[in-house]
């Protein structure tokens, strides 16, 4: 049985910043027990323009829209299980506003300081239960299996003896490790123009997922790390080639990368078939 994957496209344009700006990611994607939201930054609900304010003001604006988006997806703030906050400086904080939105039994949370795209001070993404009653009762102990690429040259962790697996399949989901522009013939790095690096990485990701019976069209959430925030537009151009319709939810930030990589991409995908 293949689980349905549903892109959430709310009618309210302020909740769908990506459509207004023609950006190739979906505001939220639902599949399995969870709904995955893209990173949300502060925008003007009327015009879709970025809004730059204090951390408190941006956070309030973001969490209001996050609430509305969850409702559009049939979920709610009370169903949020994990929140990731990116903030421009760890010397600032958004706790006073954050508290208003999650008064009790607050979600697990990770806050880290990073350079944000578009000059925003805060960006927030989350994972929520799609509904209060999930597919899996809490008592379930799901199998956990390592995923390997069919092409051994793309098995970076094994070839470089690194302590991670290419991917892990548990329950309805496949979690892939961060991937870079590795040449499938040599196993070396293809450090060409950024567009080509991104294409190579996405082709490798497709291979990895297909090796496990899944595929790019089953991805629910992606996290992209660019070495240079200036490559954002170029990334979007390539994204449209690979995800012409119903693209995954996505969060992008700019961080230091090693080995001269211009990009690193990880994803969560729905497994192709549900393991028995």
């Amino acid at each position: 049985m293949t689980l349905p994957r549903q892109v959430i496209r709310p009618g309210n344009p302020s909740l769908d910043a990506s459509r207004r700006a023609n950006l190739p990611f979906s505001p939220a994607v639902r599949g399995g027990d969870f709904v995955f939201l893209s990173g949300i930054a502060a925008i003007d609900p009327a015009t879709g323009e970025p809004v730059h304010g204090t951390v408190a003001a941006e956070t309030r604006q973001i969490l209001r829209r996050l609430d509305q988006l969850l409702q559009a997806a049939g979920s709610s703030l009370a169903n949020v299980v994990k929140v990731n906050v990116l903030i421009y400086s760890m010397l600032d904080n958004m706790n006073s506003v954050y508290r208003e939105f999650f008064p009790t039994d607050s979600p697990a949370r990770t806050v880290c300081g990073a350079k944000l795209i578009g000059g925003h001070k805060v960006e927030i993404e989350c994972v929520a239960l799609a509904s209060a009653t999930g597919l899996h009762p809490s008592a379930d102990r799901l199998p956990r299996n390592v995923i390997q690429p069919a092409n051994p040259k793309l098995n970076v962790s094994r070839n470089a003896n690194l302590p991670h697996s290419p991917g892990i399949w548990t329950g309805d989901y496949i979690f892939l490790s961060g991937m870079g522009p590795v040449d499938p013939l040599t196993g070396g790095r293809n450090l060409g123009p950024i567009a080509e690096q991104i294409r190579q990485t996405l082709r490798n990701m497709a291979h990895m997922l297909e090796s496990a019976g899944s595929g790019l069209d089953r991805i629910v959430k992606m996290t992209v790390v660019l070495a240079d925030a200036g490559d954002y537009d170029e990334m979007n151009r390539v994204w449209r080639e690979f995800f012409p319709m119903d693209p995954p939810a996505r969060t992008t930030c700019a961080l230091q990368l090693s080995n001269g990589n211009g990009v690193e991409i990880e994803c969560i995908a729905l497994a192709g078939k549900r393991p028995s």
Binding site: D33, F34, A78, N79, V81, K82, V83, N84, S89, M90, N95, Y98, R99, F102, D105, S106, P107, A108, R109, T110, V111, C112, G113, A114, L129, A132, T133, G134, L135, H136, P137, S138, D140, R141, L142, R144, V146, S157, L162, P163, H164, S165, P166, G167, I168, T170, G171, Y173, F175, L176, S177, G178, T223, V225, L255, Q256, S258, E264, E266, I268
Partner: protein
């Protein structure tokens, strides 16, 4: 079902210790989502700044406490965002990391970010319950 996993020892309750508005972990849909873990003394809640090695060790020990209290374990981790203050310490992180997840390690992405209170390491994990 969504349920809060509370801190198995007082020091790991960062809401109590530092006012962080978060639960240590949430269990839902067969998975456990943990809040970002930093090097905290599990008994006293005191921050234990150190090297990448000592911080990562403390984090894994705390994670073990937390996951085992919820009926899971380090072997059941599926995804890790390993945050370090500088990628120059990538190899140092790998060396200590390997000891705690020696077989079939989790999927992982290493990110160099600014971490709260000047810590050098933070682990953000999703675990099979």
């Amino acid at each position: 079902m969504r349920s809060v996993i509370s801190a198995p020892v007082p020091g790991l309750d960062l809401r109590r210790e530092y006012g962080h508005h978060q639960s240590p972990a949430i269990r839902a849909g067969g998975l456990i989502f943990c809040s970002g873990m930093v090097a905290i003394n599990p008994e006293t809640g005191e921050r234990e700044h150190g090297t990448v090695t000592s911080e990562a060790q403390r984090i894994f020990e705390n994670l073990k406490l937390l996951l085992e209290s919820a009926g899971s374990s380090l072997e059941r981790i599926v995804q890790v965002h390993a945050m370090i203050y500088d990628r120059i310490e990538y190899d140092v992180l790998n060396r200590v990391y390997r000891r705690y997840v020696p077989n079939a390690p989790p999927a992982r992405t290493v990110m160099s970010v600014q971490i709260e209170a000047g810590f050098k390491v933070m682990l953000d994990v999703i675990v099979a319950a």
